[in-house]
């Protein structure tokens, strides 16, 4: 995990790509989860979007 974090932090574009995908894909999956009234799915996918936004806030390289 540490290796992955270190690698991503030294590659800003890749880091942002991962953050971006973590925002978009779970956000899209929230639609079928809501249609299917899948509470666990809703919590997991929303949690992932929140996590991705938290990751975007973390500073590295520059402000």
């Amino acid at each position: 995990m540490n290796k992955i974090t270190t690698f991503l932090k030294s590659h800003p574009a890749l880091y942002y790509l991962v953050v971006f995908l973590l925002m978009i894909i779970p956000a899209l999956l929230l639609f079928p989860a809501a249609e299917g009234e899948n509470q666990i799915g809703l919590i997991v996918f929303l949690g992932l979007v929140i996590l991705a936004n938290l990751a975007a806030v973390i500073p590295f390289n520059s402000k």
């Binding site: 953050v19 639609f31 509470q39």
Partner: protein, 507 residues
Amino acid sequence: MFILAVSPILVILILMVGFRWKASRAGGLGYLVALLISWIWFGINLETLAYAHAKAVFLIMDVLLIIWTAFLLYRVVAEAGGIEILSTTLPHLTGDKGMQALLIGWIFASFLQGVGGFGVPTAVIAPILVGLGFSPLNAVVIPSLGHTWAVTFGSLGASFNAMMAATGLGWEVLAPSAGIFLGITGLLVGIAVAWVVGGWKTLRKLWIPILVIAAGMSTAQYLTVTLGLWNIGGLMGGTAGLIIGIPLAWLFHGKNNSSGKINWRELLISLAGYGVLVLLTLIIQLVPPVKEFLSQVKLGFTFPETITGNGYIVPAGPGRQLYIFRHAGMILLVSSLAAYLIFNKAGWFKEGALRRIVKSTGSRVIGSSVGITSIVMMAVIMQHAGMTDTLAQGFSNTIGWFYPAVAPWLGALGAVMTGSNANSNLVFSALQQRTAEILGLPAAIILAAQTTGGALGSVAAPTKVIVGASTAGMEGKEGEILRKLLPIICILLLMISLITALAVYLL
């Protein structure tokens, strides 16, 4: 509740302006604040949040597809040396300082904004003007002002598309007013550019070319966008400017006209990618069978009605629909490929060009994509929680009839705080639309004021000023640039406020 509703926007403003955070960081925190407030105080439930997020994805993709591919096309042309050819050709046409500023700092800057944007006009033009003997301060201020009017319909319409996405209103509603407001701004910034170069003396000397060029560019942009070709509005305005401005530059060539020969073949090849773009856009938009054929594949969901714990209802309806094969992003992608093949055949690429194009495009757009994603999600959550409505009610109660004069300043504030007209439109368009509805004002005019204010404010955004300063050798003197730029921007905003009030109450 008003203070709570405005908090996410204030968080972004304070972090970006006060602490100089990037949009990608500040947007993330703005999103988290919006989520928390909407959940605790506005009674948003899990289901509403889920639909809001899914709705936001389509808005985000609609905006990002254009931003990614517009920058890709710009990079293909730049990598082949096309931008350099344009940059070296234009200064040969006139030796008159005022005319040089108009031709390069106003017309060429508008053209570059039409095709690229993202701070490119100032970054490309400031060094050219320094080379022509302009002071570094004027070299930054002139193109910064010159391209503002082309921002909304520039970058292949990214900012205008953001406004359509955020409000759910079509081009046929929004384009006419926006076209007129931005056209007037075009004339005002032309005057401002001449004034920066040499005050009233230059204005008196060049008022005829200013009027002729402004009329040509504004009319071309207005006609293009009101025909539904909003993604090439800025490009067509800039192109009309070049067509009119080049002969005028010969007429007003000054004493030391270098009269260098222009290689027209090179110039035409360098513009080939944008030629393909215009051609494809015209065919798709104006030939009904082609448009129908390409409209067969559409991505999007139909969303049910949502209601918060506080009783705020968002009615059922389709979200943003992506017609993927006739989307402006797809047209740009095909144009980029065509441009690449043309330049490749002409032997204009150096080794490893493709890798450099892909790498620079990816690294340039991905950070801002994260910021846009967070900000759009924040804005859609605020809409679904009733926070936008609370803000609109607050504005209508406190500002009331004076609101039309405030609308452009709100757009400008959004652009300064988020760094772009597109982001400002994403954050504030729905709010402006709702406030206009509550006050019974024409939404199209208020939104035209929003995007015009956003366009003007975007040039004073710290990120753009820093880019301009660095390319003109003024690193660390950003304050000096802002001191010259801000009073002019404020005067222009005051004029737009007046025009908005007149348009709302007299028309």
